[in-house]
């Protein structure tokens, strides 16, 4: 925990963000005060990870700081882009998670403006909010297939794969009958990353056989490994047998480090201990993100502390933080 808390003061914004995320995942109250200090004082947009961590920790003592961030996010104003507004929106969403409606008006303002911060970047997070307080339910009600499919003047919501993928994620949280046609469209995107998310979203809730077959085709025939892995994960999550094994089998063949990391994450998400050897083998991979993914997957699979502890002196500081998180969970138990 001390290592992670200290990393909130790192000069590297990604190390800060990783540490914040891990502190949120570990879930201990001692992280609240350092996280509050981080999100208040840090002037980097990546501190959204710290705001999300505070939402996860569900400690109302963070509310005053979050309220202030909604008004004054203490980050440079990138006015034409989305980061400044996103920090404010993140704080507002975190407040709603904590039952505080203070930031709801700001989110409504973004919705009125058809802003991608509301309808793309934070749409999945808003849809995942509980229905209380009431403002949360009202805001969720503004996110529909129709409103997601629109956009403000000069919109790039669907031409830009990063916003398109967020919208696709949000569609998976809407009533399937309404979202399905749009998700089928997104599954034909030229971007493999949008297609991969579409596969997950199509089967995120109870899906008709037709959609299951559609995603099976994606898992078998898409030209990219990324989509094959995501579609296989979608099928595994939907309770279809054999698909997680196909991801495990693919791990030995994937050449692209990012695709491999995604496959390892998927194995971790499936949580089947039999895949521990496949994941353990990648703890020494040359790519640091693969090593991070392997450590996090090891945690979800039940762990092999001896193997993970060997990475404690990894040359990459972010990998060392992943190890610190793993050990913190094991030493202190998850809250």
């Amino acid at each position: 925990m001390d290592t992670l808390i200290a990393a909130l003061l790192s000069e590297d914004c990604l190390e800060q963000a990783d540490a914040a995320r891990f502190l949120g995942e570990i879930g201990r109250r001692e992280a609240v005060a350092p996280l509050v200090k981080y999100v208040v004082e840090c002037r980097n947009y990546a501190k959204v990870a710290g705001i999300e961590a505070l939402a996860r920790l569900r400690d109302a003592s963070a509310c005053p700081a979050l309220r202030r961030l909604v008004e004054w996010p203490n980050v440079p104003d990138d006015w034409y882009w989305y980061c400044h507004r996103s920090v404010r929106a993140a704080a507002a969403v975190a407040l709603l998670t904590l039952g505080d409606e203070t930031g709801a008006a700001y989110l409504a303002e973004l919705a009125d403006k058809q802003d991608d911060v509301f309808f793309a970047w934070f749409a999945p997070a808003i849809l995942r909010l509980p229905d209380r307080p009431r403002a949360a339910k009202e805001l969720k009600g503004r996110i529909t297939v129709q409103t997601l499919s629109q956009g403000g003047p000069g919109t790039t919501r669907f031409t830009n794969p990063c916003t398109a993928a967020m919208v696709t994620e949000a569609l998976g949280l809407l009533p399937p009958a309404e979202a399905r046609p749009r998700l089928r469209d997104m599954a034909k995107s030229a971007s493999r990353y949008v297609r991969g998310q579409a596969a997950l979203s199509l089967l995120a809730q109870a899906a008709p056989d037709e959609d299951v077959l559609f995603v099976k085709e994606m898992a078998k025939k898409d030209l990219t490994d990324f989509v094959k892995v995501k579609a296989s994960l979608a099928l595994a999550r939907a309770g279809k047998s054999g698909w997680i094994q196909s991801i495990a089998a693919a791990c030995g063949k994937l050449r692209n480090p990012f695709d491999l990391a995604v496959a390892l994450e998927s194995l971790g998400a499936a949580g089947r201990r039999e895949h521990t050897p496949v994941v353990r083998k990648r703890l020494g991979h040359s790519d640091p993100y693969v090593r991070q993914a392997a450590i996090e997957a090891m945690d979800r699979l039940g762990g092999d502390t001896k193997a993970v502890a060997k990475c404690v002196k990894d040359r990459n500081p972010r990998v060392r933080l992943s190890v610190a998180r793993y050990l913190a969970v094991r030493e202190g138990g998850r809250a």
Partner: protein, 482 residues
């Protein structure tokens, strides 16, 4: 090789017949066959900055003035009886020609082709005027800009005063190119050249596309990436720019160079300050010239479409602090750059190539009617060193690929030459998203009269530019250039 003393240099210089040679080259048409190089600069700071606005990033307040002067630099090269010019400038890009409509918006404003320059048009006009003044073939005049977003003026508003100020500013830019080239030609002297390459030890340009765990990319050019809930940052989506190519030019036998050209890939924009400024490139040139008094520093931006200077962010909130931060950041980055480059400036291995060859490619004939899309490649070769004027906004990985595959021992990439292709990333970037590709790939056939700012690369554009570049470099290497 032991450097010659200044006394010996004087004798040797005389033996090359420099005085007569220089005057003959200045008259053009009867250039000597030995290598002669000269350099010149000209100020291109806008005369009425308060009526204008720098382009590249939107500004929310009226321009206050010129923070530090803008400049154009020219290197005249004569060898084997042939003359060529290599130019660098503090502009955002070299404009191509007037008449193309623009698309409005804070990020995609081009450099006023409506009005630049009043009597003709951009790159072609610059080349024509230099050619006329200096007696050099137009295609041997290599243009480039550093992609400075505190430069390349446009009107602040639609007032007649602002329009007049823009005409004056653009006239000054055009005249500046001609003046710098004329000065360079007038200062031609027997010279020798050597090239080297160094990797920066400290960060300057960093990749500005942050890969998220869902495989897409987000902007990361200011105060880091925004990471949406439920996701995590993977890391930069491509390489950071660390490679600097260095050319040193010195008088024959002299120890210190009188011209130094550096080529490095990164967007130089620190922030949309309401001032004109030479930005980071201006700072590095000042530092280089302080290290070599009397020398001229030329600096080119090569393929920095996906790199930026965000390692010095976040910046302060209020303008007086921002101005100070801006100045300090430009100097800090200039200092980091120079600290790696100075020790790598060649001290040996100088050569005097006796032949200068050139190659030129324009996609003009292949573009669809009414399209403003254009790729121009213009290269010259001196021995085992090549200079390539090319489009801007290619991603760093593509530039590194080109440099690795170039048949020349040293290749200097000089981007933003007036070509119009927009951002040219590798194909995968179109699937990842983020600013550079946010409007998706361009159509296979451009609609006639489409706004200039709407021109977007296709997924294969970057690779095609690299392939064409390698073709013309290959022809130059084989001695087939003209």
């Amino acid at each position: 090789m032991k450097p010659k003393t200044p006394a010996k240099l004087g004798q040797r210089r005389g033996s090359v017949g420099s005085a007569a040679d220089r005057s003959s080259v200045a008259r053009a048409g009867s250039a000597p066959r030995t290598l002669l190089i000269g350099v010149g600069t000209a100020d291109i700071s806008p005369p009425h900055p308060e009526l204008l606005t720098p382009t590249g990033m939107g500004r929310r307040v009226r321009t206050r003035g010129v923070l530090d002067p803008l400049r154009v630099e020219a290197m005249a090269i004569s060898a084997g009886g042939e003359l060529a010019f290599v130019t660098t400038s503090d502009l955002r890009t070299i404009p191509m020609e007037k008449g193309a409509p623009e698309e409005s918006g804070p990020s995609c404003r081009s450099v006023s082709p409506r009005t630049f320059p009043a009597d003709g048009g951009g790159a072609k006009e610059i080349q024509r005027k230099i050619a006329r003044r200096c007696g050099c073939p137009e295609h041997r005049i290599l243009l480039s800009a550093v992609h400075n977003h505190c430069s390349s003026p446009d009107v602040y508003d639609s007032s007649p005063q602002a329009k007049a100020a823009l005409r004056k500013a653009n006239r000054k830019i055009l005249d500046g190119f001609v003046e710098a080239c004329a000065k360079a030609q007038a200062s031609l002297r027997p010279a020798e050249i050597a090239a080297s390459m160094v990797h920066l030890a400290e960060p300057v340009g960093l990749n500005r596309r942050m890969l998220l765990s869902n495989g897409t990319c987000v902007n990361c050019w200011g105060a880091g990436p925004m990471i949406p809930f439920g996701h995590k940052a993977v890391g930069p989506a491509g390489p950071n720019s660390v490679r600097v190519d260095i050319l040193a030019v010195r008088e024959v036998g002299q120890e210190a160079p009188f011209a130094i050209l550096t080529s490095y890939a990164t967007h130089p924009h620190l922030y949309e300050l309401p001032y004109f400024s030479g930005e980071f490139p201006g700072a590095l040139k000042r530092r280089m010239e302080a290290a070599y008094p009397g020398a001229v520093a030329l600096h080119a931006n090569s393929t920095g479409g996906d790199n930026d200077l965000h390692d010095i962010h976040p910046m302060p909130d209020y303008e007086p602090q921002q101005v100070r931060w801006f100045r300090e950041s430009a100097e800090l980055l200039g200092d980091r750059f120079i600290r790696s480059v100075l020790p790598a400036i060649p001290k040996a291995g100088f050569q005097r190539p006796a032949e200068l060859r050139g190659e030129y490619y324009s996609s003009e004939a292949q573009e669809t009617s009414g399209s403003y899309r254009l790729t121009i490649l213009s290269a010259i070769a001196l021995g085992d060193i090549a200079f390539l004027s090319m489009p801007g906004e290619l991603f760093v990985s593509l530039g590194l690929d080109l440099l690795a595959r170039s048949p020349f021992a040293h290749t200097f990439l000089m981007g933003y030459n007036g070509s119009r292709e927009g951002y040219a990333p590798p194909p995968l970037a179109f699937e990842q998203g983020s600013y550079e590709v946010m409007r998706g790939p361009g159509p296979e056939i451009d609609p006639p009269g489409a706004p200039l700012g709407s021109i977007r690369a296709r997924p294969w554009t970057g690779q095609r530019i690299i392939a064409r570049s390698l073709e013309i470099l290959g022809r130059l290497k084989e001695g087939r250039g003209r």
